[in-house]
């Protein structure tokens, strides 16, 4: 009896120790970024887990730079546009791919998946030419286009899988009620696909928000940059000094919205990722 209780306690302690370890591993870098961002620059290289002195100078400094504020604004525009376009195209494409029987459907699906298999670097130069030809160089629209290309495959795949799971009879009922495909999608399917849309939308948002390589390559001036590039290009007092404080402050500023979004949509993401796994 006693032994069994002990074993039980040991198991529980082990479990929570493991959880703590994983938490530490996942959260520590972010925590360190936060405390670094609120340290005065003189304290920056003193290793400590809890800052002895702190202020918000670094935040004041980055927000006083108009280029950084502008970059945040650009990022917001780009990320929301990508999410909107990806979801719009994703939903309509998934209706066609998940609901309409046509020859070559699986080929189309595989080609879509194929697009996302290339590493960014491989398509960078080609895409650069495309952007130039479309006259979108140094324009957020160029970024929106290139991010959409990379988020669409995932969006289409997830939404198609989800769309296939919706009962056929539901669509037929809508047809009997006189609904056109567009009405069926918007009035019947969309309200049922919120979990999948929240999941794919959020992932598209994160991808667009954090993307660095394209943003660096396809923009030239401060006024067109997005946040990741702006952070990387933050400069200190001299060419030999990296402004760690402001960089950390900027990182925290751009990460917090993501964390908040994930927390808001957390439950939907989970139900979206597992949707269709079990019959509801």
């Amino acid at each position: 009896m006693n032994q069994r209780q002990l074993a039980k306690i040991a198991k529980r302690v082990g479990f929570w120790a493991l959880v703590g370890l994983i938490m530490l591993y996942a959260v520590f870098p972010f925590y360190y970024a936060v405390i670094t961002s609120i340290k005065p620059s003189s304290e920056l290289f003193r290793v400590e887990l809890w800052p002895s002195t702190w202020n918000l100078d670094n935040y004041a400094q980055i927000f006083s730079q108009s280029s950084f504020v502008r970059a945040i604004f650009n990022s917001i525009i780009v990320a929301f546009s990508v999410v909107f376009i990806a979801l719009l195209l994703g939903i309509t494409a998934s209706y066609a791919l998940g609901r309409v029987r046509f020859r070559g459907r699986s080929t189309v699906m595989l080609v879509i998946l194929g697009v996302s298999m290339f590493p960014q670097v491989a398509v960078l130069s080609g895409l650069f030419e495309v952007i130039r030809a479309l006259n979108l160089y140094n324009n957020p629209a160029g970024l929106i286009l290139s991010y959409t290309i990379f988020t669409l495959p995932f969006t289409v795949w997830v939404l198609t899988t989800f769309m296939k799971e919706l009962p056929m009879e539901l669509e037929e009922a809508a047809i009997m009620d006189g609904a056109t495909p567009w009405i069926t999608i918007t009035k019947v399917f969309l309200p049922l696909m919120w979990p999948a849309m929240a999941t794919t939308g959020l992932l598209a948002f994160i991808a667009a928000w954090n993307e660095f390589l394209f943003a660096l390559t396809f923009t030239l001036t401060d006024a067109q940059r997005t946040v990741p590039v702006a952070i990387a290009l933050l400069s200190g007092g001299s060419a030999y000094e990296l402004p760690w404080g402001p960089i950390m402050a900027a990182s925290v500023v751009v990460t917090v919205p993501l964390v908040i979004l994930v927390i808001i949509f957390q439950r939907r993401i989970v139900s979206g990722l597992t949707a269709g796994a079990v019959k509801g």
């Binding site: 037929e172 009922a173 009620d177 006189g178 609904a179």
Partner: protein
């Protein structure tokens, strides 16, 4: 309300010929049931009428209008699905109003139609609930309400009761029958359950392998099945079949020898059949009499099932392995292990030829 006419309707999916030359006319206000084993094409036929599938060949007329190429919304049909297929995110009211709103009906019309439909189906208290907060029977009624709200000329039911439990099924069957009396609209109903077919239908259409096996009233189908398939499909427990052989036959009667029963004289006309033609004799379980065994007419009672109001006696012939069933009112004197002889009621014996077609009772004999 409208009549429906199908003439030489065919449906081919890829290489599968699902519906073969179906001719059918459904009168205004009739309750027609399509029945058959799974895969017989009954649901496909319903979907062709609904417009959810396109007709490969043939003509479909609703009222006086050829509707082959019309989309469902222009055909004036409403459909109740097997899984109900209610819109989960809409309330009962919105579910019923959806079609009306899409048809651009005015707000007052929508309200009036939904309310009157809800009244007929006793859904008034549930109008603001979502489908997930409803019981199976209530969902079923909402599904019917949604189909009825647009006042279609024809109501289609695709196995609407198969998701309900047994007692609810009986209750809903009753409600559908009363609804038909009350609305008087043309209804077409698909089921694999022959009890639903028998109880609801004005006219039953038995389908097998994509073609119509027989069309008739429940009484006709039960009393005068046109084929061995219909004879075996309608009626529970199923009709007994035993191999037989034609001894002599003319246009006004015949003599056959049935395995185990010896020679029997029957009123069926055997015109066109040769002596010695193999036949199948069919007799329903309630049209057999059990008596003391005589000579070769001798069967073993292998099981006796007591159902309260009636008794099924299972009989095994001396040769052959097909069990025969005898049905009688309870109580029964028969016990397992006894030996008996079978006496068929000549009036109710059916004869089928090798192709399964029924031999008709000769007109001279049936008049007498």
């Amino acid at each position: 309300m409208a009549s429906v006419t199908l003439s030489k309707v065919n449906k081919i999916f890829g290489r599968d010929h699902i519906i073969k030359d179906v001719d059918l006319s459904i009168g205004d206000g009739e309750f027609v049931v399509f029945v058959g084993p799974s895969g017989c094409g009954k649901s496909t036929l319903l979907r062709l009428i609904a417009g959810l599938e396109s007709i490969t060949d043939g003509d479909l007329t609703i009222g006086d209008m050829l509707v082959n190429d019309l989309p469902p919304r222009e055909r004036g049909v409403g459909m109740v699905f097997q899984s109900y297929a209610l819109y989960p995110h809409m309330t009962v009211y919105e579910n019923m109003a959806f079609g009306l709103k899409l048809a651009k009906a005015s707000k007052e019309t929508v309200d009036e139609r939904v309310m009157s439909t809800a009244k007929i189906l006793q859904l008034e208290d549930l109008l603001h609930r979502k489908p997930k907060a409803l019981s199976g029977g209530q969902r079923q009624r909402v599904a019917m309400g949604r189909a009825m709200a647009r006042e279609p000329r024809i109501l289609l039911f695709d196995e609407p009761l198969s998701n309900l439990d047994a007692s609810l099924r009986v209750q809903m069957r009753n409600e559908i029958a009363r609804l038909h009396t009350r609305l008087g609209s043309t209804m077409i109903y698909v089921t694999h359950d022959q009890v639903e077919a028998m109880t609801l239908a004005d006219k039953i259409v038995v389908l097998k392998g994509g073609h119509v096996e027989q069309v008739g009233s429940p009484y006709e189908l039960y009393q005068r099945p046109a084929t061995q398939f219909v004879a075996g499909f309608i009626g529970s427990p199923t009709m007994n079949f035993m191999p037989a052989e034609l001894i002599t036959g003319s246009s006004d009667g015949c003599r056959i020898s049935a395995k185990g029963l010896g020679e029997i004289a029957l009123p069926q006309s055997a015109d066109g059949y040769n002596q010695g033609s193999p036949l199948t004799m069919g007799i329903r379980p309630e049209h057999l009499r059990l008596e003391a065994p005589t000579g070769s007419n001798c069967f073993d009672i292998v099981n006796v099932e007591y159902l309260g109001n009636e008794v099924y006696v299972y009989l095994e012939p001396k040769e052959g392995d097909t069990l025969l069933i005898h049905r009688s009112e309870a109580p029964s004197q028969w016990k397992e292990g006894q030996q008996v002889s079978l006496v068929p009621d000549i009036e109710h014996v059916h004869l089928f030829d090798e192709n399964g077609a029924a031999l008709l009772v000769s007109p001279t004999r049936s008049a007498a």
